[in-house]
């Protein structure tokens, strides 16, 4: 260590002596300073001018400023909300918060589904089957060439065109002969397939009635997950020490699947789905997916999957064929090659563009306003129309999206740094 410190090549060269800045146009530093003052002055002047005008206009129109309106009663009817809401009692603040939750609900689920679909299509594009590759390529091209808003309107109108609840389509009946038979055989006893209904009032799905037994099943699953995690760590240590890796999947299978199933069976295998049924003109029971939410989710997922497919494809293609061959020559199995050699390298290529697709999906969810799903943009828009406080309304929208964007970026950057190649 001390030898390197004494090495003359390593000791930093003497820094250039610091010269004082001369007040002269021939000194670059002085020029830079002057230019910055001028540019900042111009920008500041423009901003001041706009603020000045805005204040004057607001005063002339007797529009209040500030965020006091957040505590006033909103009176905005909200169709779907994850928390309780009463238009005549609750405030604008709560209405906006519902909007934020609705945005997160569609963006979060959309990201997961778009990633799954996009990955499948991306892999399909690399398929050895010519027809498969061309078909997925066609999907990607079409999705990327049609504006998202047009797609959303299309899906929304299509869902509006579904029959009224009385004639609602049962999902199981939509399948043709053989598939239906198989499906029916499997799920008929649970009344699952026939319990999923599509109508223009939204899609009804069966929901699980939560019972005490379910708590124990969940607990068994959590215990199983912790056990699997610990066993995986143990396997890693054994591999480090001995070079032989104990099998992980039988333990994972047992702990994650068999244990919860055993607990379930131990409670007498209760399965209590709440099945939607027709009462009068509408449905009772079960969970609802509103047509607005469904159209938005469908549009966002199908559109974003087209972009994610291309990212996945380029990520897999970015890993050189030699990597597969070299790993094979070392005696690794195909699954191990994929997990330890190819995927870590592909992920490195995939993560940054994937981040921006997640951000795009979140920002695109704001198109909800066009089809009447009440996300934060829609509710803020209603708010600013009712109160006239345009500046505050738009500030709320921007603050919400900046916060979400920054959180996603931070998380993905952390993840990226976590998996990044540790270079020289």
């Amino acid at each position: 260590m001390s030898a390197t410190a004494a090495d003359p090549r390593v000791t930093a060269a003497r820094k250039a002596p610091k010269r004082r800045m001369r007040v002269s146009w021939s000194d670059p530093r002085f020029r830079a300073l002057v230019w910055q003052f001028i540019i900042l002055g111009i920008v500041g002047g423009i901003v001041w001018y706009l603020v000045f005008n805005t204040n004057k206009n607001l005063a002339a129109r007797h529009i209040a400023t500030g965020f006091a309106f957040l505590h006033r009663v909103a009176g905005i009817p909200i169709g779907e909300s994850m928390i309780s809401y009463e238009p005549s009692v609750d405030t604008y603040g709560r209405a906006l918060w519902i909007g934020v939750l609705n945005t997160l609900k569609v963006a979060g689920i959309g990201m997961v589904l778009a990633t799954i679909l996009g990955t499948l299509i991306g892999i399909g594009r690399l398929s050895g089957n010519w027809l498969m590759a061309k078909l997925t390529g066609f999907y990607v091209e079409v999705m990327r060439d049609i504006p998202l808003l047009l797609q959303l309107l299309f899906w929304y109108t299509a869902l509006q065109g579904l029959p009224a609840p009385r004639q609602a389509w049962r999902v199981a009946e939509l399948m043709d002969g053989a598939t239906f038979h198989l499906f029916h055989e499997t799920f008929a006893n649970w009344q699952f397939g026939s319990g999923m209904l599509l109508s223009n009032r939204g899609s009804r799905i069966p929901i699980l009635n939560w019972e005490p037994a379910d708590n124990w099943i969940l607990a068994a699953f959590v215990v199983g997950a912790i056990g699997t995690f610990l066993w995986n760590g143990h396997a890693n240590r054994r591999q480090e020490a001995t070079g032989i890796r104990p099998k992980v999947w039988p333990v994972a299978f047992g702990l994650l699947l068999v244990l919860p199933l055993a607990v379930w069976a131990g409670f007498g295998a209760p399965l209590n789905f709440e099945i939607p049924t027709l009462r009068g003109f509408n449905f009772q029971g079960g969970g609802t997916i509103s047509p607005e939410y469904f159209a938005l989710l469908l549009g966002l997922v199908l559109y974003t999957a087209g972009y994610i497919a291309e990212i996945v494809r380029s990520g897999i293609q970015a890993v050189a064929q030699g990597q597969w061959e070299a790993a094979g020559a070392l005696g690794l199995r195909r699954g191990a090659i994929l997990r330890h050699i190819v995927l870590p390298q592909a992920l490195r290529v995939v993560i940054p563009p994937m981040t921006s697709q997640y951000l795009n999906l979140t920002k695109n969810s704001s198109l909800a306003v066009a089809i009447g799903y009440q996300d934060v943009v829609s509710i803020a828009n209603t708010t600013l129309n009712q109160t006239g406080q345009a500046v505050e309304g738009i500030a709320v929208i921007m603050a919400v999206f900046l916060t979400i964007s920054l959180s996603i970026s931070l998380f993905m950057n952390w993840y990226n740094a976590h998996i990044a190649l540790v270079g020289r």
Binding site: P28, A32, W35, Q36, I39, L40, V43, L50, N53, T54, K56, N57, L58, A60, S127, G128, N129, W130, L131, M132, L135, E141, V142, R144, D145, I146, P147, L148, L149, L150, L153, F154, T157, A158, K363, N364, S366, L367, V369, A370, V377, N381, L384, A390, V391, G393, I394, I397, M398, F401, L402, S405, L406
Partner: protein, 434 residues
């Protein structure tokens, strides 16, 4: 030797190709058969709906109202393309005066011509660089400036002193037009690409606004349809690009930390929020920004929003090109004693911008699609006109046909551009020897 130049007979031709690409294994064969079954089913259904059972024409009653009963009967079985026949002028050109709709039609053709011309490399070469040409362009700019200066003085005199100036305004207006022609001619000769863009965009505005050359004036409120979509996207790109280059340079600057910070804040702020919030800002906040009494047209406000939004995204694309350039280029330019602007204009930008043409085209495709968002603030672009066409009672239930037509128009433009960008990308990769 001859048997080495030809592959064995069993490996070429359609049958081995099929065997390799469609029936390579049991799984592959199963996938192929399943896909063929599904595709055949869908294509036959679509063909029956879209062509065989489709209704192309409907009768009209004496009031000129479409009688769509036969379409209603065929609903679900056949498409009603009659809605397109009835509404295509409204969808394409909006409420532009019917007899003048040849103007927006020419505008669309001009836009397409502009895009096609821009793909020709010769257009982007340097033109005739001679002092004479430069003087022509400068003289043109001078004449335009003269007219504007006179107008400014007149305004000051009128507002400040309530007097009119004894200036020959008619002559100045003619000189202004002459000046514009000279400037465009000069630009065409100096830098053909910039000349083509400035000239075409100017011609498009003349055709849309009218009011000169015997064209009837048409207010912006009556514009609509495809020209609006093309104007928002293309003018957005043309004006955002110079801003984007400056912002990208600012963000890379090491000498001016304050400017760098300003650029970073601008780019990240815009990229962090959805376009719709910027459009809302243009539609509801912009009027508050202006001094009382000044009204800026809604289309112009949306255009400014699109420009500001596009500039942030383009700046990141340009920055990518700047970063991809080897550092040696900057150092070599410094060693030659070039000033910052000489270095940037003659060494850095020409190389960096060439690298980023493909992502630039992709970004443009994005903006082209995103202009449809102006529907939400109530501007009459292609998509909005489609919705308006559907609000006509007889046609209300035929949205699928209209949406498919709109999608086809968007696909034609976007697919053309993405094909071009992909071709260019391959060319660049080849040139880089990869």
């Amino acid at each position: 030797m001859s048997d080495r130049t030809q592959p064995p007979a069993g490996l070429v031709g359609p049958i081995p190709w099929l065997r390799k690409n469609l029936f390579g294994s049991w799984i592959s064969t199963a996938i192929t058969l399943l896909l063929i079954y599904l595709i055949a089913k869908i294509v036959i259904a679509l063909f029956a709906w879209g062509v065989v059972n489709a209704i192309w024409r409907v009768p009209y009653n004496q009031n000129g109202i479409a009688q769509t009963a036969i379409c209603q009967d065929a609903k679900g079985l056949g498409a009603c393309w009659a809605v397109i026949g009835d509404k295509y002028r409204l969808i394409l050109f909006g409420r532009f005066p019917y007899d003048e709709q040849w103007r927006p039609a020419i505008v669309v053709v001009l836009f397409v011509a502009l895009f096609v011309l821009s793909t020709i490399k010769a257009v982007w070469r340097k033109g005739i660089v001679s002092p004479a040409v430069r003087y022509i362009a400068l003289a043109g700019a001078g004449l335009i400036l003269l007219d504007n200066l006179a107008g400014l003085l007149e305004t000051i005199a009128a507002v400040g002193f309530g007097q009119h100036l004894p200036l020959p305004f008619d002559l100045l207006a003619i000189l202004n037009t002459v000046g514009k022609c000279l400037l465009i001619a000069g630009l065409l000769l100096l830098w053909p690409a910039i000349g083509v863009w400035v000239g075409t965009l100017a011609l498009i505005l003349v055709l849309m606004f009218g009011g000169i050359l015997g064209l009837a004036p048409v207010a912006v409120d009556y514009w609509g349809g495809l020209p609006i979509t093309l104007i928002l996207a293309t003018f957005g790109l043309a004006f955002a690009f110079p801003i984007a280059v400056l912002v990208a340079l600012g963000r890379r600057s090491t000498q001016l930390p304050a400017v760098k910070m300003l650029c970073v804040v601008y780019v990240e702020l815009i990229r962090g929020v959805p376009l719709i919030s910027v459009l809302f800002m243009a539609s509801v906040m912009f009027p508050l920004f202006m001094p009382p009494g000044i009204n800026v047209d809604k289309l112009l406000r949306a255009q400014i929003a699109v420009i500001l939004f596009a500039a942030a995204y383009l700046a990141e694309v340009v920055r990518g090109g700047l970063q991809a350039l080897p550092k040696g280029q900057t150092e070599a330019a410094d060693a030659m004693g070039l000033s910052y602007w000489q270095k940037t204009a003659f060494i850095i930008l020409p190389q960096a911008l060439r690298l980023v043409i493909p992502p630039l085209v992709n970004t443009f495709i994005g903006f082209f699609k995103d202009t449809s968002l102006v529907l939400i603030i109530g501007l009459f672009d292609l998509l909005t006109m489609g919705k308006i066409a559907l609000s006509d009672p007889p046609w209300q239930s035929f949205s699928t046909e209209v949406y498919i037509t709109l999608a086809a128009i968007y696909i034609v433009f976007c697919y053309g551009m993405s094909r071009y960008s992909r071709g260019l990308e391959q060319e660049l990769n080849k040139a880089r020897g990869r």
